[in-house]
């Protein structure tokens, strides 16, 4: 009796699901499921990223007729950045299209963790660009997970390198003090061991100050910063915590050009609300802002002119999150292309073939130029061992109106990061009873 209403609801939903999958199952289309979030607390970021991503796929379809003739198709599924909803979306999108979902990119660390055990069974590559599980960079333990471009640990070493550059050499870091203001969650805590290791190596002191979620009030934390009198502040924030931190820094008179943020602290969404206080604020990024790149120009030309653009607010084209979405699109499409070169051009790739594509992704400087994304994102080469593929970031500075690129690509210190990744991955493998792959035997 208690389930009667449920069954009724289910019946309606079933028929709806069935009818939809029938329409979508078209033969020569590569399906990509988009677990987007356009409502909820992080909708501003989600609408930018998924907008840029969809626009890029539209561009590939309109300009090139797809990838070697295989058109891209996609469907969105609203997650509201909620883990349970994300799992439902993963399951819903999993078997759509001609060959199932090509890759799952949830843009949420919580959802990433929730599906990490499932992707190997379902044979869907889990691609997390700039977030997710850091130790998954070890492809031997995590064959199906690709934390591409860069992870939080690599980024942390690049940041210290950048600070060293600014100080005039890594040896000048000795005796300096760095405060790490972090979001008190799994995401925020992740770089603490890295910073401690580097502090010991370079001889600076690091003070970790947590900010509890959501972080819309940070007075006490910044009074502590004032007391500590640091030379630099690293901001590892998310959402409303970022503008609040920037404002609070202005309030205690801490110079914003001594504040370095992670890439989830470095979008227009983080600086615009902080107003004038944000001027000078620096952030790391694996993609840059701006429309002055051929790929963005092509999108404006081929997608927006005919009126097929996804963004309602066209002023946001070229923003950090939008461009990040374009990067997602580029990587997904290039993986399809790589896979097709091995398994047959003009064919629809399966999940397993896509995994091969991601694992052999090689976007060098030449390819970047051909894509019209030179300087837009770093070059990358993924291998069986290294599922990160790059580790380079650029630093950008907010000039009060827009982001200005401050440096060239700064590489991560792999000598620190890699051993820690391998150690952590090995621990996971032991806990889970996974035997790591032997990469010398992979083709």
């Amino acid at each position: 009796m208690k389930l009667k209403t449920k069954l009724l609801l289910s019946a309606v939903a079933v028929s709806s699901v069935l009818s939809s999958s029938a329409v979508l199952a078209q033969a020569n289309e590569q399906f990509i499921g988009l677990p987007s979030y356009r409502v909820g607390p992080y909708a501003s970021g989600g609408s930018g990223i998924y907008g840029g991503w969809i626009d890029y796929m539209n561009l590939v379809n309109a300009r090139d007729g797809g990838v070697n003739g295989v058109k891209l198709s996609w469907e969105e599924c609203e997650t509201e950045y909620n883990t349970a909803r994300g799992v439902e979306c993963y399951e819903r999108l999993k078997s759509k299209g001609a060959s199932g979902n090509s890759a799952f990119m949830p843009l949420s660390t919580g959802i990433t963790y929730a599906v990490i055990d499932k992707v190997a069974q379902d044979k869907i590559p889990l691609v997390t660009i700039g977030y997710g599980r850091t130790d998954a960079s070890d492809g031997r333990v995590f064959p199906w997970v690709f934390p591409l471009l860069t992870n939080y640990w690599s980024q942390s070493t690049a940041k210290i390198k950048f600070i060293g550059q600014r100080e005039g050499g890594m040896d000048k870091l000795k005796g300096k003090k760095i405060v790490n203001i972090y979001h008190d969650s799994a995401y925020g805590k992740e770089t603490i061991p890295l910073l401690d290791v580097q502090a010991a190596k370079y001889g600076f002191t690091v003070v970790h100050i947590p900010v509890s979620h959501p972080g819309n009030e940070q007075q006490s934390q910044w009074l502590r910063v004032r007391q500590e009198k640091p030379d630099w502040v690293i901001l590892r924030g998310w959402g409303v915590m970022n503008p609040t931190a920037i404002k609070a820094a202005a309030k205690i008179g801490f110079p914003r050009d001594k504040m370095v943020g992670v890439w989830w602290s470095g979008a227009e969404e983080d600086t615009v609300p902080a107003g004038a206080a944000a001027k000078g604020f620096i952030t790391a990024g694996f993609n840059v802002a701006g429309t002055n790149y051929p790929v963005i120009k092509a999108i404006q030309d081929k997608v927006y002119k005919p009126g097929n653009g996804n963004m309602e607010d066209k002023a946001r084209i070229g923003s950090v999150y939008y461009n990040r979405g374009v990067v997602h699109g580029i990587i997904a499409v290039e993986a399809i292309r790589t896979a097709q070169e091995k398994f047959g051009k003009g064919k629809v790739m399966t999940g397993e073939q896509m995994r091969w594509g991601f694992e052999h992704l090689d976007i060098d400087a030449k390819r970047l130029k051909a894509l019209g994304a030179e300087g837009f994102m770093p070059d990358m080469k993924v291998t069986c061992l290294d599922h990160e593929g790059s580790g380079k970031v650029k630093f950008q500075q907010w000039d009060g109106k827009q982001w200005k690129v401050l440096t060239d690509w700064i590489d991560a210190d792999k000598s620190i990061v890699r051993p820690m990744i391998e150690e952590s991955a090995a621990k996971y493998a032991k806990e889970k009873g996974i035997t790591p792959r032997d990469c010398s035997k992979e083709g």
Binding site: S47, I209, S212, H213, N216, Q219, S220, T244, A274
Partner: protein
Amino acid sequence: MQFFFEVLIGGLLSGVMYSFVALGFVLIYKASGVFNFAQGAMVFFAALTFVGILETGVPFWLALILAFGAMVILGIATERIVLRPMVNQPPIALFMATIGLTFLIEGLAQAMWGSSVRGLDLGIQDEPIAWIMDATDIGVSKFDLFAAGVAAVLVTALALFFQYTRVGRALRAVADDHQAALSIGIPLQTIWRIVWAVAGFVALVAGLIWGARNGVQFALTFTALKALPVLILGGFTSVPGAIVGGLIIGSTEKLAEVYLGAHVGGGIDAWFPYILALGFLLVRPEGLFGEKHIDRV
């Protein structure tokens, strides 16, 4: 010692910020006995509407009036669509209805004005006042002082409104006893509409102050979270309670985070206000300004 005072002052002033949101809860709870879960969403809706109107090129004062108008309409619509059909229902059902209202308002706000994050500049810098800084080395933000001033004006205005106007007296009568108020001819529905409109106005003020500080974005709905311990400490029905509660929560939370937090890994301001309110309630279960409740079988 100087640092202690800096933390204390900063805490008191940020407590005022919490009080803004708590005030909206108190107004509605007082007059209709509803715990309005949608207050945070109303703050968001008000600020977003204001900024959205401002973006169309309308002058500041007109945008303010229009946004207030939108809040009045929202209040009247809420009374008509949600509250009137649910008169005499258990409080928990009304509470749930305001949760439905929350989703409705959040969706409506973002459907109307889009989901992008906006800045809001009220023209007052959130920076320490120079001469105090020079004299005592204590940073007191201009913006915080401004917010405290607004709070003082708002509370005084509300107090006068409740105390000396006809509508205010009717409001207090309704708050005391719905049935009795109805029987002496006070139009309950009109009163509710007014209360929701006033709460909408308070939400607008809170939205502007919080929006100017952290940006106008979805996270404004989280401000309601900060108001919860304030409400519990100050009592659900007391306007002064909301202010005093805010001051206590704001200052102790900061002091605890600075002096205690450093020893236990920090981030304790997430739970400290609740533990504090809990400890307080164990001594005085009816809250700071709540009335003593006598149980009769």
